[in-house]
Amino acid sequence: MAGRIFVHKEITVSSFAAVGGKEEKAGPLGAYLDYHEESGKFGAKTWELAEGEMGGLALQFALAKEKRNPKDVSLVFAGDLQNQCVATTHGLLPFSIPYLGIYGACSTCTEGLLLSALALSNPSVVRCAALTSSHFCAAERQFRLPLEYGGQRAPTAQWTATAAGAFLLCRYEDSPHPVRLTLSASMAGRAVDGGLSDASNMGAAMAPAAADSILTFLSETDTSPEEYDAIVTGDLGSEGTRLLHQILADNGVSLGERHRDCGMLLYDKDKQDIHAGASGCGCSAAVLAAYFLPALSSGKLRKILFLSTGALMSPSSIEQGEDIVGIAPVICLQSGKENHFV
């Protein structure tokens, strides 16, 4: 069998930033965002361009934190939820960084980090950036109903986050400051069809893919959940989380309190009207940049598994009644220069 686990040697995430909108600012992680904008327009004339502006801002913050110039970046892996990833394309225009567009639905954040780490194994690549965004207003327009439509959402529905996360990655030797955290290993996810087609219950559609990735990663690396301080999923929400625990239990694995879901961390479920939690590729990216990476940098967390979860579907595939296929790439992040896999 081909090797599933990619071990990365001396790769660090040297800088990161998170940007959000009004709801994200009002959530429990609001204080940790680098920037937010109440109107969600970010000075643009359409929601689609607003998302691009927001992504651009996140990258600008990540670059500014280590006083870096866009010219220093060899390659950016970036994507969003819009058709043909137009938000990202427009947002990245002013930077003029060599760009590889990626799409993994809400798993794009982890996908970009994984690809950046792989690219850095080539010595010609000095510095990579990974960037992801999603915007509630642009996503609603594309996937659901008009913004001003007065209807009720299903209790299992999730709220697309207006958020973006940007990350700069390099080898230890190119880090501008002492290495604070390490991207030690990664694994691309398999597309998993859980047999569900309800677009207002995406957490349930993605849970089987998350379970497949967690089980595979643990068995391939011969590690147990207890060895990780946290196993973090992207945007399963409350429903997906419930079902993930059930599938894992069927397979004899229990994560317990160790499991965290970015979709449940971004908003305050009791105070904000967001139903089953947050979703969108900006969700896991912003939560990673605003919460988990700082915790790893400071040593509060030593080792985590991070898997953004993507629901691979389009408005047409949903209308045609096709199943929503899930995917969940995994990365292992560790504090300082620790690397469990070398």
Partner: protein
């Protein structure tokens, strides 16, 4: 991974949180009822202006459609709809919202390709099948009159 699709489909439905029926039903009836009450008051108001009953009834409908279009444009209707559900959806107010909201949404794509092409994305099926059903009923009624009429 041990995973059974059929069992999973059942499991995902069984444990999922349900819509709060009692709360939603309550909101639906009081908001929907109030809208109908406003309609009735409008109807009487128009009658008092010595409009014919038929004209007064159409005028009341038009006034309700206008109000809900205005509230949609002001960005208030979606919040009311989120609370009231079928209470605002079933009366003519819901239909107005279903036409105006895509119109606002697609303004950024221009008058022709945006508003013009997409204004009926939500209300389209109702318009199409409503018109078809009306036509079909008309044909059946004509046939009825032909064979069984006076």
């Amino acid at each position: 991974m041990k995973f059974d699709k059929e069992k999973y489909a059942k499991e995902s439905k069984k444990g999922a949180p349900r819509s709060p029926l009692l709360r939603n039903g309550f909101a639906t009836f009081w908001v929907g009822g109030s809208i109908c009450l406003v309609g009735e008051l409008l109807y009487r108001f128009f009658l008092s202006l010595s409009l014919l009953p038929k004209t007064a009834s159409v005028s009341a409908t038009v006034a309700l459609v206008f109000a809900s279009a205005l509230l949609t444009a002001l960005g208030v209707f979606d919040s009311i709809g989120r609370y009231a559900g079928a209470g605002t959806l079933v009366p003519v107010t819901g239909f107005a919202n279903a036409v105006v909201s895509p119109a606002i949404d697609t303004k950024s794509e221009g008058l022709i390709l945006g508003v013009g092409a997409k204004i009926f994305t939500v209300a389209g099926p109702v318009l199409l099948f409503g018109t078809l059903a009306g036509g079909l009923y008309g044909v059946l009624y004509a046939l009825y009159l032909l064979f069984f009429g006076m």
